[in-house]
């Protein structure tokens, strides 16, 4: 195995392990290989392999693990989405595509993406909309098209039944669609440049309560999707994944929109109403190492009512379930921070932590076009060239729109950051598996977090990340047991702005811990821009200010910082208390997408959403368990 030593972007470039790409070569679609003289192909292939950069100190790759195309039935029936998975992948990597005659090109391409169409009756929406397909010729589909919309009964059945209407070959349609779907992902995978995953969404929504999970396969060894019509119980989804694993098919599941689960996502009990036990906890942690905490339908980190002391909790709160109603269930079961606390409780109680989750952010766009940017987001509406003022008013909720959920309250953008050694399926999946991920509400800001007992301040000031990995754990991991006579663990915290985005306001450490068995939480401002300090009397820092101009929907980086970092120790650390620590980095206030859209087109700002927001990044937590206890 050869090595090339080339410094690229501060990282050492070496050839990747041949094993990792051998799989890729074998599965190369036939279109471009085939019969060309092998010697010629081998030269080209060797060049491609050698060009996969490897970053020993890991690089932050940005992507989206949640996107729907016209293979999602709801996207077609409700939004008439026509974009195919292949087009979605091409768009996300910056290639020009043409949709219904309109040329589209993404301004800032992504590093990786998973198209996650609903497993339920996958591909059938396209067929029902096609008047000449067997499914489309049925009286049922004909009536549906004539009405212009599916009725509620059909929509409900689409997510719960494998055969909602007799006379249509649902199974055959699904099998064909899934095959094309795999081909699109394989065709667009370019190791080192753009990684695709084969993935699907399991869309269990009992009683409008969202239990959805995106299932991401590690390689091209995949199984036919498991749907909510197979079962609406997460335990059964894990059985499917475990069965696959026994056959060498590796995957992980990422729950999302806990905020719309009516308390079910992080409930204390399993699907049968029994208190979570060790077996459940181990299975859940093994199959669900990540949670999507921010996306179009709001953030699921924390609700203001659950964290009265958190002055930044009121961010992109979205509470309208698919019924349109606001859930009345257990609020704590809807939010990540509470789940981290419950995980600590259940870990002590059951001996394993069911909610040991890192974080990711997703778009959940149903247009097939990923869109992480605040300045061209349109909610559920597509990227129209020249929407009329009336249409803009509908998007902004100024006039009644036809969406079940209020469009103006949806959140613009949202991304996943992954610290991986290279941009390949294996490297990114493995980083997700070890939870070395962070979520952002759209900007490509980066956060690093390490914890260890033997760290020194110069490791942070000198950016010696290699040493940080060697002597401690990165985000997503476990702090090793406290050595004898060790004081408090040391944290290395670092955040840097998006090079095309806003400055940083502050970086916060959020600590969740158990005190006499009861969950507690505390937020520390560990790094503040502009020389501000926390007032010891109030425990709060002055606000960073607001440079936004609402007349022009612009801001300036005249306030805030480019980079913030902290060498931090927890003043309240108690080696007998289980704890989890995660970082939240805030940008300075900038105009929200609704403000940008309204201002550009001269319509009033919607009143039910803030004019400016503080975009942010969240790290995955690092866990500490008292010595001798399992930290599963």
């Amino acid at each position: 195995m050869g090595r090339i030593s080339l410094s690229i972007g501060g990282a050492l470039l070496v050839t990747v392990a041949m094993g990792a790409v051998a799989d890729r070569i074998l599965h190369e679609p036939q279109a471009r290989s085939g019969e060309t003289p092998l010697s010629l192909m081998a030269d080209a292939r060797a060049a491609e392999i050698a060009a996969v950069p490897v970053y020993p100190d890991r690089n932050a790759f940005f992507g989206d693990l949640h996107l729907h195309t016209s293979y999602s039935t709801d996207a077609v029936l409700l939004q008439r989405t026509v974009v195919t998975p292949d087009q979605a992948y091409r768009y996300a990597q910056g290639e020009p595509i043409v949709v219904l005659g309109q040329p589209l090109k993404m301004a800032r391409p992504l590093d990786f993406m998973a198209v996650t169409d609903h497993a339920e009756l996958i591909g059938s929406g396209r067929e029902m909309m096609d008047p000449d397909s067997p499914a489309g010729r049925t009286p049922y589909a004909t009536q549906m098209r004539a009405r212009g919309a599916p009725d509620a009964d059909l929509l409900r059945k689409l997510f719960t039944s494998k055969n909602p209407v007799p006379g249509i070959d649902w199974d055959g349609i699904g099998k064909t669609a899934w095959q094309r779907y795999i081909e699109a992902s394989e065709k667009n995978y370019r190791p080192g440049r753009f990684t695709t995953f084969i993935a699907f969404e399991w869309s269990a929504t009992p009683g409008f309560q969202n239990l959805h999970r995106n299932v991401i396969f590690r390689s091209s060894k995949v199984a036919y999707p498991y749907s909510a019509a197979d079962s609406e119980r997460p335990e059964d989804l894990w059985t499917y994944m475990e069965e696959n694993r026994r056959h060498g098919i590796e995957s992980l599941a990422i729950p999302h929109n806990a905020n719309l689960s009516n308390g079910l996502m992080f409930a204390w009990n399993d699907s049968d109403g029994r208190r979570i036990n060790r077996a459940y906890a181990l299975r859940r942690a093994a199959n669900e190492p990540l949670n999507e905490i921010v996306q179009t339908k709001g953030q699921s980190e924390v609700h203001p009512a659950l964290a009265p002391d958190d002055e930044f909790a009121n961010f992109e709160v979205f509470e309208h379930m698919f019924s349109g109603a606001v859930g009345k269930g257990d609020l704590g079961g809807n939010y990540f921070r509470e789940a981290i606390a419950r995980g600590l409780v259940l870990s002590e109680e059951a001996g394993a932590n069911p909610f040991k989750m890192g974080v990711v952010g997703g778009s959940d766009m149903h247009t097939g076009l990923v869109n992480p940017q605040e300045d061209n987001y349109r909610g559920a509406y597509g990227p129209a060239e020249n929407p009329s003022p009336d249409q803009i008013k509908a998007m902004l909720g100024l006039v009644k729109d036809t969406m079940i959920i209020p469009n103006a309250q949806t959140s613009g953008g949202d991304m996943t950051g992954v610290w991986a050694v290279s941009n390949t399926r294996e490297a990114i999946f493995d980083a997700m598996r070890r939870r070395e991920t962070f979520a952002t509400s759209g900007p490509r800001m980066r956060v690093r977090l390490f914890a260890g007992w033997g760290y020194s301040r110069d490791m942070l000031t000198g950016r010696h990340w290699g040493q940080a990995y060697g002597k401690g754990t990165p985000m997503g991991g476990d702090l090793s047991p406290a050595p004898a006579r060790a004081g408090s663990p040391k944290f290395l915290i670092w955040a840097v702005k998006d090079p095309q985005g806003a400055n940083l306001d502050r970086v916060q450490m959020i600590k969740v811990w158990l005190e006499n068995g009861r969950p507690r939480q505390k937020i520390f401002d560990v790094a503040l821009s502009g020389g501000r300090h926390v007032n010891p009397a109030t425990g709060r820092a002055p606000t960073v200010g607001n440079s936004s101009n609402l007349k022009t929907a612009t801001y300036t980086n005249s306030i805030g910082a480019t980079e913030l970092s902290a060498y931090w120790q927890d003043p309240g650390f108690d080696r007998k208390q289980a704890a989890a620590y995660y970082v939240r980095a805030l940008e300075i206030p900038t105009p929200r997408w609704t403000t940008i859209l309204a201002t550009r087109t001269g319509v009033p700002l919607p009143a039910d959403v803030p004019a400016t927001i503080q975009e942010r990044a969240w790290s995955s937590p690092i866990w500490y368990a008292p010595s001798g206890r399992p930290a599963k």
């Binding site: 910056g94 247009t367 910082a561 480019t562």
Partner: protein, 279 residues
């Protein structure tokens, strides 16, 4: 009017009128069932506009709609031709699939290219198989976090004077940059990924190698930069490009065949643009 009365009783006239009637019916029947006549109705156009509007959130512009209509006519012709050729037999009768089949009609007729084919194609289209220009450069970063933007720029200017005065870069006090001081073989997209689409990312391409220059603003702050080497954009050798050349050769043959096929098929149809009379 006895003459008319007589004429109305005339069997020949009856015969002629009946014939006229039958002829008219036949014409109408033919218009309704003529396989070679494509009628684009107002409803069809509305359907196309509606589908576009639902996808994009706004109706198509007139020129966009025009393109959608032409595409619709083409699809319709391909569909009918495909049906006529019996492509539906033994298969699901799916309009879209027939269109796709017609789109790729003749795909099997495209032979595997010889090396001579590929070399000929490569010689004509060599410009397509290029490596972009790449830069290797060193930079020193001055963060606005230390005393503000103006101060960072001043520090960058002083550093530039020091560098021009012969001071070595390692001896010049600068701030740590998130992605290091040296970058190798980056193309335009690579530089923008690290620095944003900013002054630095634009200006670095204009610098003569071996000389420090600046200050330039990036998305993070101020920089001085020295290009170490500039690899000009270059054409790939045939061996390097062979895989892509084969794919493009086949794509081109397929596209030519497709255009020829579509043109031939469309000549067999008349298009009745019904929607125009109403708009």
């Amino acid at each position: 009017m006895p003459l008319i009365k007589a004429a109305l009783r005339e069997p020949l006239l009856h015969f002629l009128m009946l014939g006229l009637l039958l002829y008219g019916a036949a014409v109408i029947h033919a218009r309704l069932t003529d396989r070679t006549r494509i009628v684009v109705t107002h409803a069809d156009v509305e359907m196309l506009a509606d589908r576009y509007g639902k996808q994009f959130g706004a109706p198509p512009s007139p020129s966009r709609l025009g393109a959608l209509i032409e595409s619709y006519i083409q699809d319709e012709a391909l569909y009918r031709q495909g049906m006529a050729l019996g492509l539906s037999e033994g298969d699901e009768i799916v309009r879209r699939r027939i269109i796709q089949k017609m789109d790729f009609l003749g795909e099997g007729d495209i032979r595997e290219p010889t090396e001579a084919d590929l070399r000929r194609y490569f010689a004509i289209h060599q410009a397509r198989y290029g490596e972009p220009r790449r830069l290797s450069f060193t930079h020193l970063y001055f963060s606005p976090d230390r005393g503000g933007d103006a101060r960072a720029r001043t520090r960058a200017r002083a550093a530039l004077a020091d560098a021009h005065g012969g001071k070595s870069a390692v001896a010049i006090a600068a701030d740590p940059f998130p992605d290091g001081q040296s970058f190798a073989l980056l193309d335009k997209a690579g530089i923008e990924r690290f620095f944003g689409e900013t002054e630095l990312a634009r200006m670095v391409w204009t610098l003569p190698p071996g000389t420090w220059a600046g200050p330039f603003r990036s998305g993070y702050g101020w920089h001085i930069a020295k290009v170490e080497t500039s690899e000009p954009a270059r054409n790939l050798s045939f061996a390097e490009a062979a895989g892509a050349v084969r794919g493009d050769w086949i794509d081109e043959q397929r596209e030519r065949l497709k255009q020829r096929t579509i043109a031939t098929i469309l000549r067999g149809y008349t298009v009745d643009r019904n929607y125009r009379s109403r708009s």
